[in-house]
Symmetry: C2
Subunit: 700 residues, 2 copies
């Protein structure tokens, strides 16, 4: 179809590539050259060039092949969607769409691996020249004309003879950076965007504890267990290569990123206790960020002390510094850009409202530029995007017109949906198409044992400590549920596949893959059963979380969340909201009278108007259950109800104190007002059957 | 921030690369090897390897650089959007968003070219080895380890010494295939999708004539003029390389693709005469398809007669055959997949309606898979996508739920918007960042002269011939307007940049770039003025095109469009609609009684229900002006009005005859019914000032 093109500039997405272009070889060749220079010779010497001829590949053919490959993925997604629809239609909960995507991926992988064979005539002209260095770019002089070659990667010697055989398999394999630069951002952004901020901030303390302490704990627990396991393997001679403690720690960091997307979907569908939902969701969102930064700082540790893998205090502190640096940097950048976009939208969108398309476009571009900016500054784009999402949902979103709020929401929803299912189906595919798998029974068993212990060492001790602090205890059944909900997903996979050069990394990747499969299929499938046998309340309207909780505890929530929540709420509501959005009270009322003129010029006319009919942004601007479930079209009424309740709830002063009081006191009113809307008052001792059954009739 | 990655599989988008992987060099090396084999020697002999060392590039640095580069584009888009908003706000029509994007692109290009200098320490380790062949893949053996290199492209000798200098400039340059595989499809699809089918089909004959005959004519006219121009240059010794007649023809094909996006935007805003709109839009959409296939078949001609660029009858017929083959193939494939999706959606979406996200996802994936499928089968994906879009808008779209109709519309709207502005800003950028520009005054002047003549030779003769056929004449002022509206845009650029290897191609590319700039800025900007001085009616509601036209002409429209329109309408309404959508009459009523049982089992229950409250799909399921203008939020009432009129219009039998009669007769009723909604009855002799003015108050 398409005519030939001879000019090949680097692809834009190629440009999105990670520092990975710094391979070991080139590093090696630096050392080599250094040494050579030291010996005062020319860095690289002329060498013999022996070549092997393989028959010429028709590029047209390869292009078709390529399109066909991509088509495979599209069809996989299509198939997944069709089946998801069937499942949703039947309200089957034993298998989530992501699990489904993986299954299809596996099947397709089997077909590609064993079904299809590339005709042997489709080959490269390969010509291997013996040199000392392998630079990133090679200039080849073909009878006066110069051609530029770029380094693609290393080929393990045993693949040399059958380069063309697994050509096709390599074709259906991505640059791992695609995940970090194209697929993960929308997912993470959407997560931050759909964070239920009211509940999130109420449990901020606990969530942060689980996310930071917990992830660190589980990382080190898993790391040390795996180190023991590796030692055992070394003794029994199962170890085929180097495996240092840092590798174990890296593995710990990789598999510490939980991704309970399956569980949360079911939680939402069954309207499980909101506290639990908030804890789980908040933790999983944040610990993705923690895990990714943790892993990069562990990798940063590795080269220190020139590969003598001894413990090195300075290097360790360096790593810790890197961790703190990258994390806080990314956080700051994300939040900052979020605020900037809020400011832009604040000053503009009120006039822009006529053009929803432009708004949505701007919003999308701004979110993306956050990611790029962070990467450009050497921070972690994914983390930045997460916090940018949170900030934007909190401020920028308020300044969008209703029309484009819907558009934006739906756009990111779709992107998230596609990206997620794509990653999971790709996971399934790699199980068979990935070339360098290394399944080691001992390591695998050890790993499963480790992640179990690691999760336990994360949840139970922390919950115990937290319960000392919070009077609204995290019940043991909730703890068990959190323990159970420790699924591994997209982030773990992306981190694992990011680097599969060494023996250790390959083993880690294969094991991570199995862990993801197991947790998503088994734990994900067992969620409903687990919920019922743990007697966890379902069918709770997200506004009525106070209903179940007795008076004393409700007060305690206030006390518990006070020191953090109150502080935040106060600052945010009095200064940030008015500055960045058109909601919130006018600054003139909140700022001390001394800076009256400043306040006046900073306050937008809208603010005054709004003052009467103030909306509770904290609740109605969250993409909450109601909105998420726009996905499946049901219970948008839910969102409305919040809005209304919010509206009623917030005809209040500006001090956080009474605002909080009202907010919490309102539980009673709500009980009266909403008594009618109670879906199914269920006692804890309910058999799963009727639970599913009730859920089927309940929230529909 | 991201850790290093060593395993680099080809990027997915990389996979989307065109047959371009078949460079001349590798072709050369085939011949070389063939010759060598004939002489019975080893194909390639060991050769000396002389190398130049350039200092090592820090990959981390390059990654940041890359992100920064991408950031540039994002910021360009953001800037454009912000300014567009300003223009829309001020209702300024002298400069369209695309023109704006180009300006910003140019500015950014200047900055990149002259402003920024890459620090000289950021360089490649370059090492050039002297070999006879340059294969697509090179295996480099670095002390036992093998590394794979892939061919990136040729580097002109004079660039050799400053590879690192224009490194950055090359970084902000795309693989041309990105345009064909990522940016064009959404644009083309959206064009097909937003085709106003009722008016399109009514003028089908004329549109086809302009698109096929017209494009062919202008291609050959331009081609021969340019050949004369080239001959002149050869005489005056301005020609720096080969320039064959096929190159001229290719140039003709490239610049024959009109893209009056600017004009159409203004047309819509001013609600210009719908006939004109339909003619222009239909032509521009189709002639993109024609131009792209034409160019590939001309390229296919080139190699024939092994580079002896003599006229070769067989080769010419081969090219014609290729043209017909590719075009009809792509058309068939697009239509087919469109129908398939319609069938799937038909059988599914009625049940899927609860889950709009899934519907939109499916719709999106299906559209994309059409493109891939066509490419995989060696057809032209872009053309396939176009007709797929038309088909889907006609059938599949009917089966979507209202919710996801909105979502889908908005999604493709956004994609189209982003892609379009991206391409145009990139055009501006390339004016300065592209390395091998070749501006030749003679050629440029000749080209401008040629496109003018080509357009004229397209519009006027054809209009004359068509006017013999159609009694509803295309007025001379409309002809002048169509002449004037021959802007060149995205497609011309994409075709030109696709291959810039040879001297001829580079000159063509540079010239095309200038042509695009000129037409978009000058013609685009002058549209409003042109409209008024040509006395073209504006402020026509798209439903009321009958109002202006006297009774006689309206009848004539029927007569004119009869033979094609009637045939199509009949078949479509009686068989396709019922089969593929839930609208339309049940088959049982349309099929002959003999095949009653078939009809019964094929007819969906909805069809019977629908029979009472049938909707006129032809009108209300078109993404018509009203919908397009959702973009800027105004006149959705427009769409509703059509629907209502449609609903009233179609309580009719199934024979196309009386359906048509009613459809056309209804003009009168509409005149009565809608008399109130007449926005501004304006006489043709209106000064531009009040024209703009009226438009400002009118359709807002």
């Amino acid at each position: 179809g398409a005519p030939r093109c001879t000019r090949l500039a680097p692809l834009r997405t190629r440009v999105l590539r990670c520092p990975g272009s710094l391979w070991p070889p080139s590093a090696m060749c630096i050392r080599d050259r250094a040494g050579a220079a030291a010996r005062g010779e020319a860095a690289a010497r002329p060498v013999a060039l022996e070549e092997e001829i393989v028959s010429e590949k028709a590029a047209e053919e390869s292009h078709r092949q390529d399109s066909a490959n991509l088509l495979i993925f599209i069809l996989l997604l299509t198939l997944t969607i069709l089946t998801i629809w069937l499942f949703k239609h039947r309200r089957a909960r034993f298998l989530h769409e992501t699990g489904l995507a993986m299954i299809y991926g596996v099947l397709m992988g089997v077909i590609l691996r064993y079904g299809i064979h590339v005709p042997s005539d489709v080959n490269n002209v390969t010509l291997s020249c013996q040199v000392q260095t392998s630079p990133a770019t090679l200039l080849v002089n073909v009878s006066g004309k110069y051609y530029e070659y770029t380094l693609k990667g290393e080929i393990s010697p045993h693949e040399l003879n059958n380069v063309q055989d697994n050509e096709m398999l390599r074709k259906v394999t991505f640059d791992p950076e695609v995940f970090f630069n194209i697929l993960l951002p929308p997912i993470i952004f959407y997560a931050g965007y759909s964070l239920k901020r009211r509940h999130f901030f109420r449990n901020l303390g606990s969530i942060l504890a689980y996310a930071f302490l917990g992830t660190a704990i589980s990382c080190f627990v898993i790391g040390s267990i795996m180190y023991g396991c590796v030692a055992l393997m070394k003794v029994t001679g199962q170890l085929g290569g180097d495996f240092y403690f840092t590798d174990c720690l890296l593995f710990g960091a990789i598999v510490s990123a939980t991704d309970p997307v399956t569980v949360l979907a079911i939680f939402h569908e069954l309207q499980v206790d909101v506290e639990l939902y908030a804890l789980l969701f908040g933790e999983s969102v944040l610990n993705d960020a923690v895990a990714i930064v943790l892993s990069s700082s562990i990798v940063a540790y590795q080269p220190a002390g020139d590969n003598s893998h001894t413990f090195d205090v300075t290097a360790m502190f360096k790593s810790i510094g890197i961790f703190l640096g990258i994390f806080s940097g990314s956080f700051a950048m994300g939040a900052a850009t979020g605020v900037v976009t809020a400011l832009i939208s604040f000053s503009l969108f009120t006039k822009l409202r006529e053009f929803p398309l432009l708004e949505t476009g701007l919003f999308f571009l701004m979110s993306w530029s956050t990611f790029l900016l962070a990467e450009a500054c050497g921070f972690t784009g994914v983390v930045a995007v997460l916090f940018c999402g949170i900030t934007q949902a909190h401020y920028t979103y308020n300044n969008l017109s209703t029309e484009s709020q819907h558009r934006t929401k739906q756009l990111f929803e779709l992107l998230n949906f596609l990206a997620e299912n794509f990653i999971f189906s790709y996971m399934g595919l790699t199980l068979f198409t990935f070339q360098n798998h290394d399944f080691n029974p001992t390591f695998i068993v050890g790993a499963f044992f480790a992640i179990f212990l690691g999760r336990a060492a994360n949840i139970y001790p922390l919950s115990f400590l937290l319960n000392l602090g919070r009077r609204n205890k995290i019940g043991t059944n909730l703890q068990h549920m959190m323990m159970f909900a420790g699924l591994r997903g997209a982030m773990a996979f992306a981190l694992a596949i990011r680097d599969t050069a060494t023996y250790a990394r390959q083993m880690m990747f294969s094991t991570t893959l199995l862990i993801v499969f197991f947790t998503v299929w088994v734990f994900g499938g067992g969620t409903t059963a687990m919920l019922s046998c743990l007697h966890i309340r379902v069918g709770v309207d997200s506004d009525q979380e106070h209903l179940g909780v007795p008076e004393s505890e409700r007060r305690s929530t206030k006390a518990e969340s006070a020191w953090l929540f109150r502080l935040w709420y106060n600052f945010d509501h009095n200064y940030l909201k008015p500055l960045l959005t058109h909601s919130g009270p006018p600054l003139t009322t909140t700022l001390p009278s001394c800076c009256g003129p400043v306040a006046r010029c900073l306050t937008s006319p809208q603010a005054y108007e709004n003052q009467e009919q103030l909306k509770d942004d904290d609740s109605d601007l969250i993409l909450n259950d109601g909105d998420i479930s726009l996905t499946y079209g049901d219970s948008t009424v839910n969102a409305d109800s919040i809005t209304s309740s919010g509206t009623s709830r917030r005809i209040v002063g500006n001090s956080s104190e009474d605002a909080l009081d009202r907010e919490l006191a309102f539980g009673d009113h709500e009980l009266v007002i909403r008594g009618t809307r109670l879906v199914l008052p269920m006692d804890d001792s309910e058999p799963p059957s009727s639970l599913v059954d009730s859920a089927r009739h309940g929230p529909a």
